[in-house]
């Protein structure tokens, strides 16, 4: 019986696929834990930076940092699209691609029509997607996530900030998956430059301590703002990284479950076929024996 063997083969192949998805789930869970702890580890730094900045927000106007707030008419746009290097993570990458295209149409129709939107991709999947489109990819970073360090991220961030200061781009947006929990990520858009104004709260004056400022308040603020932008870029990458592993873990969990369902159905089919074969064989033997007797 051909079909009996076919069913058995399918059973074996589904089982081995299930083993793979199960293993991938476990690996993703471990990676997710690591990625999450990196986000947590960065928190004290970010908080301290924010605290210092609020101490000094009064002297922002005279400082170097002011130019990061400069709002210009938007002619040229840069989008930093953060995806993952590997697939099998559910809708992780496709939702980013979709979000990016939607954003272009809704937020920057003029720049889109004039072909004034450039793209920087982080992650292989984003590169592969946008390589097929008409947009100019000024930079692509395909292996950043294999070994994600602050230095590597910082280098990119500084280049991006310089291109804003040089007037190459009037608006720079980050598109990435925000990490909510292991099962949920939110495709998000964040304005990177110019810095949205609501981020500085001049009204919320922290308890004024009589600090000595060296070399000067303005110089410190300028550097603080630049540093907080760079840290923010790094945080975005960390979040996307955690979200990626969470998405893959969920996707692999679903796949393992689906394989289980499939296995159950196949097993039932297999047993039915087997029973049918046996019944048929008995009938043949009995029929043969009766033919001899009569």
């Amino acid at each position: 019986m051909g079909s009996l063997k076919e069913v058995r083969n399918r059973l074996v192949s589904v089982k081995s696929t299930q083993q793979i998805t199960k293993a991938m789930k476990v690996v993703s869970a471990a990676k997710l834990r690591k990625a999450q702890s990196r986000i947590v580890q960065m928190r004290p730094y970010a908080q301290k930076l924010q605290g210092m900045l609020s101490q000094l927000s009064g002297s922002l106007d005279g400082s170097d940092g002011k130019k990061f707030y400069q709002i210009r008419p938007v002619k040229k746009v840069l989008m930093i699209v953060i995806t993952s290097d590997r697939g099998l993570a559910g809708s992780f990458n496709s939702s980013i691609a979709k979000e990016t295209l939607r954003l272009m149409k809704e937020k920057y129709p003029a720049a889109l029509a004039a072909g004034n939107i450039d793209i920087i991709t982080v992650g292989k999947k984003g590169r592969d997607f946008f390589a097929k489109t008409k947009f100019t990819m000024v930079e692509e970073h395909a292996t950043l996530f294999t070994h994600l360090t602050f230095e590597a991220a910082d280098e990119i961030a500084q280049r991006i900030m310089q291109s804003f200061l040089d007037g190459k781009y009037d608006a720079i947006d980050l598109i990435y998956n925000k990490f909510k929990n292991a099962a949920v990520f939110i495709p998000s858009v964040e304005r990177f430059l110019p810095i949205p104004v609501e981020q500085v709260k001049p009204g919320a004056k922290a308890s004024k301590i009589d600090y000595i400022f060296e070399p000067s308040q303005e110089a410190i603020v300028g550097r603080l703002i630049s540093q907080s932008l760079r840290v923010n870029f790094f945080r975005t990458l960390l979040e996307s990284n955690a979200a990626e592993h969470g998405a893959r873990m969920t996707a692999m969990d679903k796949a393992t479950e689906n394989a289980e369902d499939l296995l159950r159905a196949l097993k039932l089919q297999y047993n039915k076929e087997r029973q049918a074969t046996i019944t048929k064989e008995i009938l043949e033997i009995v029929g043969g024996a009766q033919a001899l007797n009569s």
Partner: protein
Amino acid sequence: MQLEILTPEQILFSGEVSSVKFPGTAGQFEVLENHAPIISTIDAGKIRVRNAKGEDQYFEVNSGFVEVFKNKITVMV
């Protein structure tokens, strides 16, 4: 006094110290017990951390910030 050296990736140092010397932007400076509150930027160089026993420990930095407030020093590099 208490010293904490933070980077975006980890806490590099955290503990009790007796003096710390920084490569400040406006020149090298040393922080001892009961230093006045200060916020300063630091440039490339070495931070020298001295503990109560007089033992030194060095940290190489490229740039960063120091805040001293009530015998608590926070360094961000």
